[in-house]
C-alpha cells in the first residue's frame, strides 16, 4: 500500500522536472517565401540545435495584421523577413523591442532604420522588376519595354498587370517609388497614363510575374526574384529593369516587444545577421546587408544595384494612407475587363 503513493510522488516529480527544464523555443512570424524557409531552418538548427524553432509563415499583410491584433498578448518572439514598409508600421504602433544584433556595425547603412539601438534591421533587399512573356510579346507584336515611360505607350493597352497597393506591399512600394522618382505631380500623371494599359490590379506581389510566366498576361510588374526564378526555370520571360530606376524594399527582422523568450529571440536575430544566413539570402535576393557577401542570384542582371532608385522607405511608410487613398480614388473603382 505504500508503493502507490511513492510511485505517484515520483511521477509527479518527474513531470515537474520535465516542465522546469523546458527547451528554449523561439516563435518566428515571417513573410519569407515558403520555399526558402527549409534552408533557413536548417542553418539555424545547425548553429543552435538546443533551441526549438517554430515558424508561422503567411503573406505580408496577414503577418502584419496578426501582430497588430495580438498586441495585448504577443505570441511571436521574432518577426523575420518582413517588408520594411510594414515593419515601420509595426514600429509606429510600438510593437517592436529595440535590439542591436551582433556585428550590426558591418552592415550597410541602407539596411538600418537609423535608430540607436535599432528597432529593426534589414538583412536583404529586393526590388520591383518587369516580367515580359517573350512568347506573348512576339505573338502580339509587342516590343520589349525598356523604361517605365515605355509602358504607357498605347501598344500595351490591356497588357499589363501590377499589384494593388491597397493590398500588396509590392504595389505600395512601386507607387511610392514612382512618386519619389518623378515627383508627386509627374508621378500621378504617369500612373494616370499607365492605368490605361493595366488589365487588372492583383492582390499579391508575386502574382503578376507568375501570371506572366503562364502567359496569362504579357507583362507583369512584380518582385525581382520571382522574375529571375521564372527565367532560370526556362520560361519565356525577359526580366526588365526600367531605365529610370526601380523601387525597392528590405526584408527586415526585429524582436517583438513582450515576447515570451527574449533570449532565444535575440539568438535568432543574431543568426539572421550572421554570414551563414547572409549567404543563404544571397542565393535568392539581389542584395544583402553584409557588403562582404556578394549576391548573384541567377537570372538577375549583373548591374542590379545600379537600377535601384534613391528612395526613402520611411517616406512611403509614413505617407501610406494618403497614397492609397489617392490611388484608390483614381484607379481603384474602375472595373476592368479582359480584352
Amino acid at each position: 500500500m505504500t508503493r502507490a503513493p511513492r510511485l505517484t510522488v515520483m511521477v509527479l516529480a518527474a513531470l515537474a522536472a520535465a516542465s522546469c527544464s523546458q527547451r528554449p523555443k523561439v516563435v518566428v512570424y515571417t513573410a519569407a517565401e515558403a520555399d526558402q524557409i527549409p534552408a533557413y531552418a536548417a542553418s539555424f538548427k545547425a548553429a543552435h540545435p538546443d533551441i526549438d524553432l517554430v515558424w508561422v509563415r503567411d503573406s505580408t499583410g496577414v503577418v502584419t495584421a496578426k501582430l497588430m491584433a495580438e498586441r495585448k498578448a504577443p505570441k511571436a518572439d521574432v518577426v523575420f523577413a518582413l517588408a520594411a514598409t510594414s515593419m515601420i508600421a509595426l514600429d509606429q504602433q510600438g510593437l517592436l523591442q529595440p535590439f542591436a544584433p551582433d556585428g550590426a556595425g558591418r552592415l550597410a547603412s541602407r539596411f538600418k532604420d537609423g535608430a540607436d539601438p535599432p528597432h529593426w534591421t534589414g538583412e536583404a533587399l529586393w526590388s520591383v522588376a518587369v516580367c515580359v512573356n517573350t512568347d506573348e510579346a512576339r505573338k502580339r507584336g509587342l516590343p520589349i519595354p525598356q523604361s517605365w515611360e515605355d509602358l504607357t505607350k498605347p501598344v500595351y493597352r490591356g497588357m499589363v498587370s501590377m499589384p494593388d497597393p491597397a493590398s500588396s506591399g509590392t504595389g505600395l512600394l512601386a507607387v511610392g517609388a514612382w512618386l519619389q522618382m518623378f515627383g508627386e505631380a509627374k508621378g500621378w500623371d504617369f500612373m494616370d497614363r499607365l492605368d490605361k494599359n493595366i488589365a487588372s490590379y492583383v492582390h499579391s506581389g508575386s502574382k503578376p510575374c507568375k501570371d506572366a510566366a503562364r502567359g496569362e498576361i504579357p507583362i507583369g510588374i512584380s518582385i525581382d526574384y520571382r522574375a529571375a526564378e521564372a527565367k532560370t526555370q526556362g520560361l519565356p520571360i525577359a526580366v526588365v529593369e526600367p531605365k529610370e530606376g526601380v523601387g525597392w524594399d528590405l526584408e527586415a527582422t526585429a524582436l517583438v516587444k513582450g515576447a515570451h523568450d527574449e533570449k532565444a529571440g535575440r539568438t535568432f536575430v543574431n543568426w539572421a545577421m550572421s554570414p551563414d544566413a547572409m549567404r543563404l539570402y544571397a542565393k535568392n535576393l539581389g542584395m544583402v546587408a553584409d557588403p562582404s557577401v556578394h549576391a548573384r542570384p541567377p537570372g538577375l542582371p549583373a548591374n542590379f544595384a545600379d537600377h535601384l532608385a534613391p528612395i526613402d522607405l520611411k517616406w512611403t511608410a509614413l505617407n501610406r494612407d494618403r497614397i492609397i487613398d489617392r490611388w484608390s480614388r483614381s484607379y481603384g473603382s474602375k472595373s476592368k475587363n479582359e480584352s
Binding site: 516563435v27 517565401e33 515558403a34 520555399d35 527549409p38 517554430v54 515558424w55 508561422v56 509563415r57 503567411d58 503573406s59 499583410g61 496577414v62 502584419t64 495584421a65 496578426k66 497588430m68 491584433a69 495580438e70 495585448k72 498578448a73 505570441k75 510594414s86 508600421a89 512568347d135 494593388d164 497597393p165 491597397a166 493590398s167 487588372s200 490590379y201 492582390h203 499579391s204 508575386s206 502574382k207 510575374c209 507568375k210 501570371d211 510566366a213 503562364r214 502567359g215 496569362e216 520571382r226 526555370q233 520560361l235 519565356p236 501610406r320 494612407d321 492609397i324 487613398d325 484608390s328 480614388r329 483614381s330 481603384g332 473603382s333 474602375k334 472595373s335 476592368k336 475587363n337 479582359e338
Partner: protein
C-alpha cells in the same frame, strides 16, 4: 396570478448566452473599433471614411447584384436538383447527390482557379468564345454559384423530404395535374426552405473574398474592400466598418426569413403516410437532363483542377508530373497540414452538431417567450451574414486579451473549433430546424404526460428522428472545417497548419498548380468523409422501421 415559465425560457437563455460569448461579444468588440474613437467617445468618423472611400458605391452595387444574381442562379437549380433527389425515382440519384455536394468539398477558391484554367487568357475553352475570358461578371457569378450551390441544396432537400403522402393522394383524387400539384402543394410546403436557402446563398456570396480575388477581374466588391483594409492597410477600424456594411443586408434577409418561418406548419406527424414518388416521363426527362448538366459542370471544373495539378507548366508544358504535390517546397506546412485539417474537421463536426441540434431544439420545440425565440432565430442566422474575415479578426481581438477570462481558449485548437463552428453554424442550425419542425408537436407533451422530462424526450425521440439530419450536418461541418479559410487565417496557432490556408497562400503567391494540387487533396479527404456519411445514412434508413 401569472406563473413565470422559467423552465421554458431557460434553454433559450442558455443558447443566447453561448451565442453572446462566441459571436456577439467578439463582433461587438470589433465593431467598437469602427465606432469608438481613440479618445473613447462614439464617433462616426470611421464609418464616414469607409463610406466616402472612392469606388465604394460601385462596390456596393456590385455586391448587391452579385448576391442577388447568384441566388437567382442557384435557387432554381438547387430546387430542381433537390426535387429530383427527394421527389422522383430517377436512376442514379445517389450519384447525383454525391456530385451535387462536391463543391462543398473544396475551398471556394478552387472553382475560380478552374475557371481561369478554362476561360482565362490561356484558357482551354477561351478560343471557343472568340477569346473572351471569364474575368469579371461571368466568372464571378459562375464561381460563387458553384460554391453556394450545395448550401442551398442541403436546405432544400431537408424541406422537400418532409412530405405527407396523403396530401398528394388527395390532390390526385381531386384531379389536380402535376403542375397544379406542384404549384399548390409542393412549392408552398417548401416555402420556408426556399427563403432560408436564399438568405444563406445571398449572405455567403456577399462575404466571399476568394472568387473576386482570383477571377473578379477589376470588379470591386465590399468584401474586397474589407480585405484590403485589414490585410493591406492593417486598418482594423476601417475593416470593421466594412464588415458592418456586409452585415446589414444579411440582417434584413434574416428578418424576411423570420416572417416566412412563422407560417410553416408541421408537415409530418405520426398520422401522415410516406410519400411514394411515381415516375412521370416528361418531368423526369427534363429533370434528368438538367441534373445531368449540373453534375457535368461540377465534375468538369473539379477535373480541370486535378488536371492542372498534374501538369508541369500550363500552358507551355502539359507533360505529366507530380511535382506540384511536393508541398514542402511551397507554402503552407506540407503534408502535416492535411492531418491538422482532418483534426479540425472532426472537432468541428462533433461540437457543431451538438450546438446546432440544441440550438434548433431551443428555437423550435420549447415554448420560450416570443421575444426570446425571435432573438434565438435571428442570432442563429447571424453567422451566415458575418464575413469570415471579420469573425477571425474579432476573435483574435476579443480572446487574445489577457483580461478576458476566456483567454485560455486562444492559441490552441479550441479557438479554431469555436470560430469554425460559429462561422458555419447557420446551415447546421437551419437543417436541424427543418427536421425538428416537421415532427409532431405533441411529442414533448406526450412525454411529459408519461412522466419523462423534456431532456429524455429530446434524447430518445427528437434526436433519433433527426438522425438523417445529424449525419448530414456532421459531414457538412467536417467538410466546411477542412475548406474554410477566411476566419481561421488569423487564428491558427503556430504549431498548426491548415490545408485550405495553404491553398490560399500558394495561389496568392502565384503557385496555381500546387494550390490546385492541395485542393485536390482536400477534395479526396472530404470525399471519404462523404462516403462515410452516405453509408451511415443508408444504415439508418435500413434500421428505421419501414
Amino acid at each position: 396570478m401569472r406563473v413565470l415559465r422559467w423552465g421554458e425560457n431557460l434553454p433559450a437563455l442558455a443558447f443566447l448566452a453561448a451565442m453572446t460569448v462566441f459571436l456577439v461579444a467578439p463582433l461587438l468588440s470589433l465593431f467598437a473599433q469602427a465606432v469608438v474613437s481613440p479618445a473613447g467617445g462614439l464617433t462616426g468618423a470611421v464609418l464616414l471614411r469607409f463610406a466616402s472611400a472612392p469606388g465604394l458605391k460601385a462596390a456596393v452595387r456590385n455586391t448587391a447584384l452579385l448576391g442577388v444574381g447568384v441566388a437567382a442562379i442557384v435557387l432554381p437549380l438547387a430546387f430542381a436538383t433537390a426535387y429530383a433527389l427527394e421527389r422522383t425515382r430517377l436512376p442514379y440519384r445517389r450519384v447525383l447527390a454525391a456530385v451535387a455536394g462536391a463543391p462543398l468539398l473544396v475551398p471556394s477558391l478552387l472553382p475560380a482557379l478552374a475557371l481561369v484554367y478554362l476561360f482565362g487568357r490561356q484558357g482551354l475553352l477561351t478560343p471557343v468564345f472568340s477569346g473572351r475570358t471569364a474575368y469579371g461578371w461571368p466568372g464571378l457569378l459562375a464561381a460563387d454559384a458553384f460554391a453556394a450551390f450545395p448550401h442551398a441544396l442541403i436546405l432544400l432537400r431537408t424541406a422537400l423530404s418532409a412530405a405527407d403522402g396523403r396530401l398528394y393522394e388527395q390532390a390526385a383524387l381531386l384531379g389536380a395535374g402535376p403542375w397544379r400539384t406542384f404549384w399548390r402543394i409542393t412549392l408552398p410546403g417548401a416555402r420556408h426552405g426556399l427563403v432560408s436557402a436564399g438568405v444563406v446563398v445571398f449572405s455567403l456570396t456577399i462575404a466571399d473574398v476568394g472568387a473576386p480575388k482570383v477571377i473578379g477581374g477589376g470588379l470591386n466588391v465590399v468584401a474586397l474592400e474589407v480585405y484590403k483594409a485589414v490585410l493591406g492597410r492593417q486598418d482594423f477600424p476601417l475593416g470593421a466598418a466594412g464588415a458592418l456594411m456586409l452585415l446589414a443586408p444579411s440582417l434584413l434577409a434574416v428578418a424576411i426569413e423570420r416572417l416566412a418561418a412563422r407560417r410553416q406548419a408541421a408537415l409530418v406527424s405520426s398520422g401522415s403516410t410516406a410519400y411514394r414518388p411515381k415516375p412521370q416521363r416528361a418531368r423526369d426527362l427534363g429533370l434528368g437532363l438538367l441534373c445531368g448538366l449540373v453534375g457535368f459542370v461540377i465534375v468538369g471544373l473539379l477535373g480541370v483542377c486535378q488536371w492542372a495539378a498534374l501538369v508541369r507548366l500550363w500552358p507551355y508544358d502539359l507533360g505529366f508530373t507530380l511535382q506540384s504535390y511536393d508541398f514542402d517546397r511551397f507554402d503552407g506546412g506540407g503534408w502535416s497540414a492535411a492531418i491538422d485539417s482532418l483534426l479540425l474537421g472532426l472537432g468541428t463536426a462533433a461540437f457543431g452538431v451538438l450546438a446546432a441540434f440544441l440550438g434548433a431544439y431551443v428555437a423550435e420545440r420549447t415554448r420560450a417567450a416570443t421575444p426570446l425565440r425571435s432573438a434565438v432565430a435571428v442570432l442563429a442566422l447571424a453567422p451566415a451574414s458575418t464575413p469570415g474575415l471579420a469573425l477571425g479578426l474579432a476573435y483574435i481581438l476579443y480572446f487574445n486579451d489577457p483580461s478576458n477570462p476566456l483567454h485560455v481558449l486562444y492559441g490552441g485548437f479550441a479557438i479554431l473549433v469555436a470560430a469554425t463552428v460559429t462561422h458555419y453554424y447557420t446551415v447546421a442550425h437551419l437543417t436541424f430546424v427543418s427536421a425538428v419542425k416537421a415532427l409532431d408537436h405533441e411529442f414533448e407533451a406526450a412525454g411529459r404526460a408519461l412522466g419523462k422530462s423534456r431532456l429524455v424526450v429530446m434524447a430518445r425521440v427528437i434526436a433519433p428522428l433527426s438522425a438523417p439530419a445529424l449525419v448530414e450536418v456532421s459531414v457538412y461541418l467536417f467538410v466546411a472545417a477542412t475548406t474554410t479559410v477566411s476566419a481561421v487565417v488569423f487564428l491558427y496557432p503556430p504549431d498548426v497548419k491548415l490545408a485550405a490556408v495553404a491553398v490560399l497562400n500558394m495561389d496568392d503567391a502565384g503557385d496555381s498548380a500546387p494550390a490546385a494540387a492541395m485542393g485536390t487533396l482536400i477534395l479526396y479527404m472530404n470525399l471519404v468523409a462523404r462516403l462515410v456519411g452516405l453509408a451511415a445514412r443508408s444504415r439508418l434508413a435500413r434500421l428505421a422501421p419501414s
